[in-house]
Subunit: 584 residues, 2 copies
């Protein structure tokens, strides 16, 4: 080893010891006849001292070092006169007796500091330098730890990690599949998996009983702000289980991660039906760090001559505790917020609870104080509270708007503390979603999701009322995982395909090998998949998944550091029997 | 859970207990008024009993069950009269009181037994049934355990698992790259990594210090018998190390795996130079489970009128202890073996040590007994031994032929015991290989491999004598891992590119972002990569890697179960701006 210790471990107990360290020059300061260098590695930072009077030549060499030079030094551990309480090694410094420059460095295009002066673009281009910043490295250390503890928990509970193939078959509906031309089978393509769904179900047919995999998945879609073309899932499946078994097992995994990684003991996760989630939070992934539940107000506010409410199919509101002192300007800003095209509300009605208990609203002329007092009671509102009301002609849209408003109020009132975690299961999702455009049902989760046994009778009469044995794990308003119990009965599967409008030929073409496997004794099974990138970013308290990924792509799907994707040789295209045919 | 216990855990201590089991029907036997079913799951097999006299209806239902039906049963644990010592549950059976058929099964196309009646092709097509066989499942359980213990060891020793991207940049020399057309960047392609080499080196530049990853890699090449287009590496890199540190660390990993997985304590691994490996074994991956080292015989046998030897540039032999009783037929078969086109020797000379100590050879007419006694001494041969000699005009080719013969003799004499493990490091590989066809040097390992410091002076004068800081871990004649110390000095790297015949433009185009990164303070670093598939197959005692992979491809690169690769829609090609252009 080119070192005896790392830059993070030396302390007062090493005083007088001769040590060898290696690392990067973080900063260099000259004071009087002394030169101080902070030497950095993955493990920390240690102060080096060079003394002009003791060794002028060595000090002179030190004075010529630049930022990010790579050094190997030998020296003696000494007590600092000026201790740094913020640094684990802050009690000591190294009186350097020998210095070797292992490598020089050009001046980096931005400072290697937690608060860097580099913008997003330049940091992505020089990602290998960005990764030197301890804030970014800490995210990847966290990621390692979460992945490792996930494996440890699952190994202990009898799960086997099985690698499923990356080069698989493209499916006709796989419009978002990345494809891979085969040189050995010209004109034919593999596809990269959007998830290992079918393979994990095959492993259940194979009797693997408990499977998991931390695995890369791929989706060639227009990238929303926080998506990546390649992403990582914690993918799991179990046999001979019912929904409750899966919830228990993976609630256990999540508790294990919070305990081992963050030393947080979580309570049991509450369960919320999809119906309640929509009714009280307007979202299937409610942020339950704060209450501020929706109150429905059709019975209170409709029919009093306020045209907007009178024509509404939905009137609902939230009560922001203690926000009655919102100024006119703040309320106008909130109105502008909900009227933005991304949210699309027509307007916002508010009602303040005054100090005397009376209610002052923006629609006073339509409502008597009696009715406003009714309103107040509905929310159990008290003096100082602010009620905010949204209405609309489409219930789901209006709920979504109110949900956005609720989250914004949570932000404004400081109720969304990133160091606080509120976990729950959302259960009883609808099995099917009707799509007006294509005039057919779609599987809300996927076509293998099992309906609740007691709802199977509704499949013929009222499909949209059928609930699925499907569940999402939601933490702080983020869906970190989701899954379902699968259909293992071929008759039920056939009916499901009929409802989804597949002919048996289409079903055979799309899912042939899985349906074939199901003929040979498929056990009852179900599973879950977590998005690891998002899970880590939640633990890291980050808004974006990007800084939890070592080498992320930008939102054009490009890796600007390596400049990928890029054109390839004609020879290579020839070997693949392909021609590029750009339309414009 | 649909069970209280698995099919592998019940024993005499559960007598009288009412249990619920779930699993597959392995076999069904009727005897007298009794029906016996072996119920199988991942964990084992349990015998179920149905008694005609006690519950005729239940017994009748059991009689109609078929192989691979999925059952859930309730019953009482009872002691068997006829115990099965080979089965962990062999002391007990379950007197079934309730039976539920969870799923039926068609008759499988082959028997689900360790000794199945299914051929390779049908088992690959129905891989999900093949995976039910406990022999195949055991390989994947082993794979899980090896991967998990690898992670545990590396986590404990301070390595971070960092995921590197799968969608990367195609390089002009990457003729064996799989490419992935980008829909969002039409006409441009990603490539799938043949290894994460450049990324792990970038992580060292980033100061990650100790990196590992168990990662899929891809190579679109004509598949030899035991290659797969996608394969898994244990990929590792360390900073501030010298070769010895890497050997120690990864010898430690290998010992940890043998201990935790197979409970074998390994001795320290001997080191063998590449030169010695070639000289004594004719291979850079010698199988050292048995001696039978090469003895060079130019000084003993050349110049006595035997034209074949007299014109040879190499004469060498091995001594097969106790094989003097090989018959003429066996010796002819050995001669045929070495003369096969895959080996290509011109012939084989043998010499037997007779009971009286005299030597009887196939070329007696050219050599006196005195010379043959010299020969005998060279090998320390004794009565009953058989000396086998090969010669040739090309030293390397002749050594390779003799190596094949040595391995074959090892097989024939039972010296290659699959339960015995002989590990070593092969070190001091040449840095460069000369290629007569293209008239240039190639990097034997890769262009970033560091020469030995003491050999750097030879780079200008005698490049082919330069040894690299490169090393392979060899176990039982299998190269399970290999790596090198990398060049971190840009001047040396530049010289290396010159020797390899790259202009600086070419070097820039091919390795630009890595060379750029190296300008900002690259630490000394090096690493290793293990082939996980081969490592597991070695532990499993298998000849092929295929049965250590859940869903392998055949040697046309096809997955016959899912029928991939396959053609894709024209619409999808249009979206990718591609046309298929088959020449024939």
């Amino acid at each position: 080893m080119l070192r005896t210790h790392t830059c993070g471990v030396l302390s007062i107990k090493h005083l007088g010891k001769t040590v060898m360290l290696a690392g990067w020059v973080q900063r260099l300061r000259k004071m009087g006849g002394m030169t101080f260098i902070d030497l950095r590695d993955r493990y920390g930072m240690t102060q080096l001292v060079f003394n002009q009077e003791i060794n002028a030549e060595l000090c002179e060499r030190a004075n010529h070092l630049g930022r990010e030079f790579v050094l190997q030094i030998t020296g003696e551990v000494a007590e600092r006169s000026n201790k740094n309480k913020n640094l684990p090694t802050g009690d000591i410094e190294i009186i350097v007796s020998d210095l070797k420059i292992l490598n020089e460095s050009a001046v980096p295009p931005f400072t290697i500091e937690d608060d860097t002066d580099g913008g997003d673009d330049i940091r992505m281009q020089y990602r290998y330098l960005d990764l030197r910043r301890s804030a970014v490295r800490a995210n990847l250390e966290l990621r390692h730890k979460m992945a490792f503890e996930t494996r440890r928990y699952l190994d202990t509970t009898g799960f086997l990690e099985v690698e499923t193939p990356v080069l698989i078959k493209s499916t006709p509906e796989g419009a978002r599949d990345f494809v891979v031309p085969s040189r050995m089978n010209q004109g034919q393509f593999y596809a990269l998996p959007q998830s290992p769904q079918t393979f994990k179900q095959l492993l259940m047919v194979s009797g693997f009983d408990r499977y998991f995999q931390i695995v890369k998945c791929f989706r060639d879609e227009d990238l929303r702000a926080d998506r990546q073309p390649e992403f990582t899932q914690i993918d799991c499946e179990m046999s001979f289980v019912e929904q409750e078994d899966i919830l228990q097992t993976f609630e256990g995994l999540t508790k294990h991660l919070f305990k081992t990684v963050k030393n947080i003991d979580l309570d049991n996760f509450p369960r919320m039906t999809f119906e309640d989630a929509m009714k009280y939070y307007g979202s299937d992934k409610p942020d339950t760090r704060f209450e501020m539940k929706f109150v429905e107000l059709m019975d209170v506010l409709k029919g009093y001559g306020f045209a907007v409410f009178d024509s509404a199919q939905y009137i609902g509101g939230i009560c922001a505790r203690g926000a009655a002192d919102y100024t006119r300007k703040q309320l106008d800003a909130l109105t502008d917020f909900v009227k933005r095209p991304q949210i699309g509300a027509k307007g916002l009605v508010y009602a303040r609870i005054e100090d005397d208990g009376s209610v002052k609203s923006s629609v006073d002329k339509f409502y008597s104080q009696d009715i406003l007092q009714n309103l107040k009671e509905k929310f159990n509102a008290e003096k100082g509270d602010l009620i905010l009301i949204i209405s609309g002609e489409n219930i789901n849209k209006a709920r979504k708007q109110l949900s956005e408003l609720r989250l914004e109020m949570g932000n404004q009132l400081g109720l969304r503390d990133k160091t606080k975690y509120s976990c729950l299961w959302v259960v009883d999702f609808p099995l099917l979603e009707w799509d007006d455009e294509t005039n057919r049902y779609y599987a809300m989760h996927h076509p293998f999701t099992s309906p609740k046994p007691e709802d199977i009778v509704l499949l013929d009469t009222n499909p949209k009322e059928v609930r699925a044995n499907a569940y999402d794990m939601v933490i702080n308003g983020v869906e970190v995982g989701g899954g379902s119990i699968r259909i293992h009965n071929s008759g039920l599967q056939k009916k499901m395909f009929e409802i989804l409008g597949f002919t048996s030929e289409q079903a055979e073409y799309k899912f042939g090998f899985l349906l074939n496997a199901f003929k040979y004794g498929a056990p009852p099974h179900g599973g879950i998949a977590y998005g690891l990138d998002r899970f880590v970013s939640l633990f890291a308290g980050l808004d974006s998944i990007r800084d939890c990924i070592a080498f992320p792509k930008n939102n054009q799907g490009r890796d600007v550091m390596i400049d990928a994707p890029s054109i390839i040789d004609n020879e290579q295209l020839d070997e693949l029997a392909l021609k590029v045919d750009l339309k414009n």
